[in-house]
């Protein structure tokens, strides 16, 4: 981890020095590589629509490209791979609650659709 550049600043307070030592410094190259891959992945997800894949193939491809893109942005552009686990867990674990919510609402909306189809077939 060559990320923590330390630069003494005499006019800053001790807190400011401590903060400054936390700056993220990485080679430019890694950003360019990630940038390139984000372009490729975006082009791939656009092609899913352009080619016209349907059904589970379409949905799984969309999700795969989405997760890869999101992972690259959070990990490298937002420097999450270089942060300590205390912060990583504090930020990345709470969204699991969203996934639980998704599951609940998927079941609920299926039920709503079912009651609409059985009870309002004639247009309500």
């Amino acid at each position: 981890m060559a990320s923590h550049a330390e630069q003494p600043h005499r006019k800053y307070s001790q807190t400011a020095i401590a903060e400054h030592a936390e700056g993220q410094q990485h080679p430019i190259r890694i950003y360019l590589v990630v940038w390139f891959w984000l372009f490729v992945l975006s082009a791939c997800s656009y092609l899913v629509d352009y080619v016209g894949f349907e059904g589970y193939l379409r949905w799984s491809l969309i999700l795969t490209f989405m997760i890869l893109k999101a992972g690259l942005i959070v990990a490298v552009f937002m420097h999450m791979v270089w942060e300590r686990l205390a912060l990583v867990y504090a930020i990345l674990l709470p969204p699991i609650a969203v996934l639980v919510f998704v599951a609940i609402m998927a079941i609920e909306s299926d039920y709503t659709a079912l009651t609409r189809m059985t009870s309002f077939v004639g247009g309500g």
């Binding site: 330390e6 003494p8 800053y12 307070s13 400011a16 020095i17 401590a18 903060e19 030592a21 936390e22 700056g23 993220q24 410094q25 990485h26 430019i28 950003y31 360019l32 990630v34 940038w35 984000l38 372009f39 975006s42 656009y46 899913v48 629509d49 352009y50 379409r58 949905w59 969309i62 999700l63 490209f65 989405m66 999101a70 942005i73 959070v74 490298v76 552009f77 937002m78 270089w82 942060e83 300590r84 686990l85 205390a86 912060l87 867990y89 504090a90 930020i91 709470p94 969204p95 969203v98 919510f101 998704v102 609402m105 998927a106 609920e108 909306s109 709503t112 659709a113 609409r116 189809m117």
Partner: protein, 240 residues
Amino acid sequence: MGETTLNGFGAKPARPSGIRGVATDWASDQRAFKSASWGKAMMWIFLLSDTFIFSCFLLAYMTARSSTTVPWPNASEVFALHMFGADIPLILIAIMTFVLISSSGTMAMAVNFAYRKNKGATVALLLATAALGATFVGMQAFEWTKLITEGVRPWGNPWGAPQFGATFFMITGFHGTHVSFGVLFLLIVARKVWRGEYDRGDRGFFTSRPGDYEHVETMGLYWHFVDLVWVFIFAFFYLW
């Protein structure tokens, strides 16, 4: 620990990593986030709350779309543009995606050059990021105008389920607002870098905390988050 040395940059004993590291960081005094300053940690926590807001919008969209018995409008056709004598599906959205990703790239480079104290490159890259962000908002305004003239309203549209309009305006509108405020703050940060306020440690107009090049990274976190949200909107609203 860095805080316990007198001059702030003395020899630091290595901190444990892994789960033990999480436990010792959270159990230590003063601060849990040893690798992030309070400003960066607060930005992350704000972004987490924003994640929940956008998640709820997308969840509402999922619930509306999967519970309606009326067919959902085909986004591929709705967002097609007539170019070069043919209807190209979703082309405007694809261009908007590339514009936003490019702005994320320039932002990441700006953060890098800011820590190298290269003011010229930082300002140029921040302005490029702001310009790309403004381009994105402009294209979104074009898209809204196009859909509104075609008769899309929050309560109905010519192609199918009426919830389409409400979902579209709510989600893209909220995201566009985030981009717009991002552009505003990018310009403010660019001006501060240009005037050397982060070199001198001038106090900010809002928090009155001393300026520091780390502010560029915090700004970058927000900007990358806006790009991140677009990744999910692009996948779920436009492609699904």
